[in-house]
Amino acid sequence: MELFIQQLTNGLAIGGIYALIALGYTMVYGVMKLINFAHGDLFSIGAYLGLTLLLSLGLVDKIGVLGGILLLMLMVMGLVGIIGIILERVAYRPLRKADRLSAVVSALGASIFFANSLMLIYGAKFRVYPHNILPKMAVDILGMKIPLIRILLLLASFILMTALYLFVQKTKTGTAIRAAAIDQGAAKLMGINVNKIISIVFFIGPALGGAAGIMVGLYYGQINFLMGWLYGLKAFIAAVIGGIGNIPGAMLGGIILGVVESLGAAYVSFAWKDAIAFLVLIIILIVRPTGILGERVAEKV
């Protein structure tokens, strides 16, 4: 039983990170119907930029841990968001009218480009965040020591998800984003500047990815130019499990994926962990073809 609970918390922590990356994925997908394979690399870029800024600015020393990290996070989010906007302008906008899969190929190209730029700029070696930036406190829950950071990570995902959800559901810009997602032409007829909306989306999505990158860097310490591919794929799975395009779905999908991974690994086999995760994904989709929270509007003939 203790093992079960321990593995459950492990899964929740990993799931929190998947969820965070999946949020950005889903956001972009929701509006553009684009599987942004470069999203994972934007996440890596966030991790590397975070490292550079952390080392060069010394913010943590100057204004304390909490303020320093928050400021750092905002800066990274801003920078990665801008890269996201540029990415959309250069690689996706010219393909907006083309077949959807053309944009997917462009995204794959961008992903290769980003990963290899990181390698050329930062080198192929693993880079390491300074140790002991985050306080190493642990909380006692049911007799188990759970690192505070893990709880904070999960909390951060949850807060960002809620904020994003409220933004998209309750604000005027959010409604415009949803409208643009349904029918860009009709949105234009409402006086919505669709290009601006897409830029906003391509700022927020990558910024969230960047935030996840710096969190992973700070918490796990070790980063590498290729890590975005694996995380990006996991986030994509998470988004699909929840129903791609759906914001709470991304959160739910991330958590489910994390938990399935750690429980599946713990009770079946670690070597088969990813296969188990994929199998669960396939079963979920066979039962619910558009994900758990995905819209199930049968096509009206």
Binding site: G11, Q222, L226
Partner: protein
């Protein structure tokens, strides 16, 4: 006319860091050699090809090298990648000296022109099993990462340990490239081993140590030779890495030999830091062995060179100790040492 020596290494892909170090080391040694007048009166030229860390690309790169009139090839890293190139070099009658390829079967095929400066999995497995039982560990957990190398070593060690009657309480693989290994650590802990033998690579080892520390679990961790990389301590942090032990061929830093000291000084001077892993350094040994053979035989004929390397090259002073090859092309000698990480994060020879 120059004497061309090929270097096959992963400059892109997941093993790019190893390949880039290999390139640095071999070009450094070649420059030194040329500064001293080259080989047989001509300059040595290094022809570098990227294998991307992938068998198919490697096979192409090997074809490309074979077509370039080279005397021999150094490399490459990774057993399955090396294996994809073996037949090509063998058919072209080109000497190949691999560095980071430990799978047993590579030298069991009876290939005449194939050598390696790295030890084999069974060798390390034997050392590991002896060490683990010698220290009196009863309940042993073995963790690998499902790569050719780590799985090979884990299997080898497991069967030897079982023969010695040890109790393997955990045997499974993690997925390399991830960041969070708390799930597997939780299960490991539940298996309650006396020691954990991890046969994978340093990035995961670093994270395992770090997260183990976070869990507040104190069990001795022992690594295979792929954990021999100073970045391990950077990733784990000094306090988490302290006490970690691993098996490895000696790195130049540990050798008193003049060759090793000179090499380190030159490397530091040229590139500003020290080579990352011992595997890249082994490519330097391959280069030294090949050029020594050319010098000694005054020939670039593959058969002559192969014969020399198999039979006549004895205890050549290399960067990682003395080098000789046996009839299969394997490196001879007891290579493995035990290292321990001290409180300052230094690797201390036991």
């Amino acid at each position: 006319k120059t004497i061309k020596i090929g270097l096959l290494c992963p400059l892109t892909g997941s093993w790019a860091s190893e390949g880039q170090d290999m390139e640095k080391i071999v070009t450094l040694l070649a420059d030194e050699l040329n500064a001293k007048g080259g080989l047989l009166g001509s300059e040595v030229e290094i022809v570098v090809e990227d294998d991307g860390g992938d068998p198919r690309t490697a096979a192409l790169a090997a074809q490309r090298l074979s077509a370039q009139d080279i005397v021999g090839v150094i490399g490459t890293y990774g057993s399955s990648v090396t294996e994809a190139t073996q037949a090509i070099f063998d058919e072209a009658k080109i000497i190949q000296i691999a560095n980071g390829s430990t799978a047993i079967r590579l030298t069991e095929k009876g290939l005449k022109y194939f050598f390696r400066t790295s030890p084999r999995d069974d060798e390390q497995g034997r050392v590991a099993a002896n060490y683990l039982t010698g220290k009196g560990f009863k309940r042993i957990a073995i963790l690998h990462d499902n790569t050719t190398y780590a799985k090979g070593l884990a299997d080898e060690t497991k069967s030897l340990l079982e023969k010695k009657g040890a109790n393997i309480v955990f045997y499974d693989a993690l997925t390399p490239g991830e960041r969070d290994y708390s799930a597997i650590l939780t299960n490991l802990k539940a298996a309650n081993p006396d020691v954990v033998f991890f046969t994978g690579y340093y990035p995961e080892a670093g994270l395992l140590l770090r997260q183990k520390k976070e869990m507040g679990w104190n069990v001795p961790f022992i690594g295979g030779d792929a954990t021999n990389n100073p970045d391990l301590v950077k990733i784990a942090g000094k306090d988490a890495a302290e006490g970690f032990m691993f098996l490895s061929p000696p790195v130049p830093q540990d050798l008193d030999s003049k060759e090793a000291k000179d090499f380190l000084a030159a490397y530091k001077k040229k590139y500003g830091d020290l080579p990352g892993s011992v595997w890249a350094v082994l490519s330097g040994d391959g280069f030294l062995a090949l050029t020594t053979a050319i010098k000694a035989t005054k020939s670039t004929d593959s058969d002559v060179l192969a014969d020399y390397l198999h039979n006549k090259l004895k205890d050549m002073p290399g960067l990682t100790g003395k080098i000789s090859f046996d009839s299969k092309g394997d490196r001879v000698g007891d290579l493995y040492r035990i290292y321990k990480v001290d409180a300052n994060g230094n690797f201390v020879l036991q």
